[in-house]
């Protein structure tokens, strides 16, 4: 079994499970209760919040959410619904939770424009600057793309936005623990995170929000999380998330180096298969992301056939693998429908070993050959 879909989700690591354990049935209080079990739970939540803020070097509020999707929805809708209708800029390769949120806002009368990317998936900060209008209230560009792994120049973009007086949000779900996320360098007003991408539990995430940013909550109620996100806090989840952040940040330098090497081996191995090319940026790329197009054959078949052989990869993002349209990201970087459909993502992680890479290359070569034999596009 070779799991190469760490960008879709990760197993919870043992240290995190251990950290969560006491909060299921021992320290199980509701953090809003003022009695002892309540205050113990409250303390655990606040310590987790402080620890994460420290590790991302953020000065502001960290609002715990149920995941990356909620964090992104809260950022975009929270800003827009608290203001008069205006203009929003999002890149054309955002995760579906940004794309669909933007689409909904646009159906509600907001003006939305999509920032184009080049053939590597890069956003040009100059283009962002040009596209900002007088009525622009928010720009959202992800830190790195979840499909093709391209890392965006968010430091520069954040500077432009702050000069222009426009709010800037970035989705760091795929970068935390993989490349440096330092909010002293990225001057973003809001930043989204998700726990289950970094060996933390599913169902937890966070939105960093600078002190002076006004948001309408998506979840109204008891007023938890600075009044920005009501609902009984997922205490074990939050504690686990914070542990996962701590470990991910600590291990980053060494682990990123290790993954980068394996990634490059996998890329060279796969590119030896004929009619195969790399998607995304050759250098400005997540250390664990490999995304290739095997021409003339279709991605879902490749994924399923690899799965039959114990190699687990994905087409596009996990979210869209039940949809039929080709990935909007691959279309945005200029792939035609057929090549977009033929692209496959391999994402490496903590438990990936060199042997896995060798074996994957071997199995891929087999599967690609088998599928090409029945493709009408090959001679």
């Amino acid at each position: 079994m070779i799991y190469l879909d760490y960008a879709a989700t990760t197993p919870v690591r043992n240290e995190v499970i251990e950290a969560m354990k006491p909060f299921f049935s021992d320290t199980f209080g509701n953090p809003s209760s003022i009695h002892l079990p309540g205050t113990e739970a409250r303390e655990a939540v606040e310590k987790s919040r402080e620890s994460i803020l420290e590790h991302i070097k953020g000065r502001g509020r960290l609002v715990f959410t149920s995941g990356g999707t909620e964090a992104n929805n809260l950022a975009i809708k929270g800003v827009c619904l608290s203001r008069k209708k205006g203009h929003v800029l999002v890149s054309s390769i955002e995760h579906p939770c940004i794309m669909e949120t933007a689409r909904w806002l646009s159906s509600m009368g907001w003006k939305v424009d999509h920032i184009p990317v080049d053939r590597y998936g890069l956003v040009d900060p100059g283009t962002v600057e040009d596209m900002i209008r007088d009525d622009t209230v928010l720009v959202s560009v992800m830190h790195a793309n979840n499909e093709i792994g391209t890392v965006e120049p968010v430091e520069e973009i954040s500077k432009i936005c702050s000069e222009k007086g426009v709010l800037f949000h970035t989705d760091a779900v795929q970068t935390l623990g993989k490349i440096e996320v330092d909010l002293r360098k990225i001057d973003a007003d809001m930043v989204s995170f998700s726990s289950h991408k970094i060996y933390g539990p599913k169902g937890v995430g966070a939105l960093f929000v600078k002190e002076d940013v006004k948001l309408v909550p998506l979840l109204h109620g008891g007023g938890q999380e600075f009044g920005l996100r009501s609902g009984t806090e997922n205490v074990p989840g939050i504690v686990g998330f914070s542990k996962a952040v701590e470990l991910a940040v600590k291990e980053l330098p060494e682990e990123a180096e290790r993954l980068r090497k394996l990634r490059d081996e996998l890329i060279s191995g796969l590119l030896e298969i004929p009619e195969t090319f790399l998607n995304g940026h050759p250098e400005k790329r997540l250390p664990n992301n490999v995304h290739v197009c095997f021409r003339f054959i279709e991605g879902e078949s490749i994924v399923l056939m690899l799965s039959e052989k114990g190699v687990f990869v994905s087409t596009a993002s996990a979210c869209s693998s039940r949809k039929l349209e080709p990935s909007h990201v691959l279309r945005a970087i200029g792939l035609n429908h057929r090549d977009a459909h033929g692209s496959v993502r391999f994402t490496l992680g903590k438990f990936t070993k060199r042997e896995d890479i060798e074996k994957t290359i071997e199995v891929c070569a087999e599967v690609v050959e088998k599928l090409r034999k029945i493709s009408p596009f090959t001679e």
Binding site: F296, I297, E298, E300, S301, L304, M305, E308, R322, K323, L324, E325, P326, H337, R338, A340, H341, K373, I374, S375, P376, F377
Partner: protein, 123 residues
């Protein structure tokens, strides 16, 4: 997601590949979801004696191609023309709803192949 029968045809597709000197060929495709199928038939006395296919597409597309290529063998052209998409998917124990429409194109490709055969015969 897929029935065992779909997976079985996906794993071990029947009659796949190009046919030398076919009597009729037909291509069907759905540009959006990307599936494209090519069907080849050999006909003797109004009966399909051999069917082959090539498919670019998901597991459902491959399995429906494979299934249909088995279903048509030995059928007269008239009988083959009566096969509907639903027949193929029920032969396979059903397809996921989202795939039903988009990836079940084999029947279209077969019909085009029969049409192509009839046109050739007329000439």
């Amino acid at each position: 997601m897929y029935s065992e029968k779909v997976m079985e045809h996906f794993r071990n597709p029947r009659n796949q590949g190009k046919m030398e000197n076919p009597d009729g060929t037909g291509v069907a495709g759905n540009p959006l979801c990307g599936d494209v199928m090519k069907f080849y038939i050999k006909v003797r006395n109004g009966t399909i004696v051999e069917a082959k296919w090539e498919t670019f597409g998901c597991a459902a597309a491959i399995a429906t191609s494979s299934a249909l290529s088995e279903m048509v063998k030995g059928k007269t052209l008239e009988e083959a023309l009566e096969i509907k998409r639903e027949d193929v998917s029920s032969f396979l124990g059903g397809l996921p709803p989202i795939k039903e429409h988009c990836s079940n194109l084999a029947v279209d490709a077969l019909r085009k192949a029969i049409k192509n055969y009839r046109e050739r015969v007329k000439e």
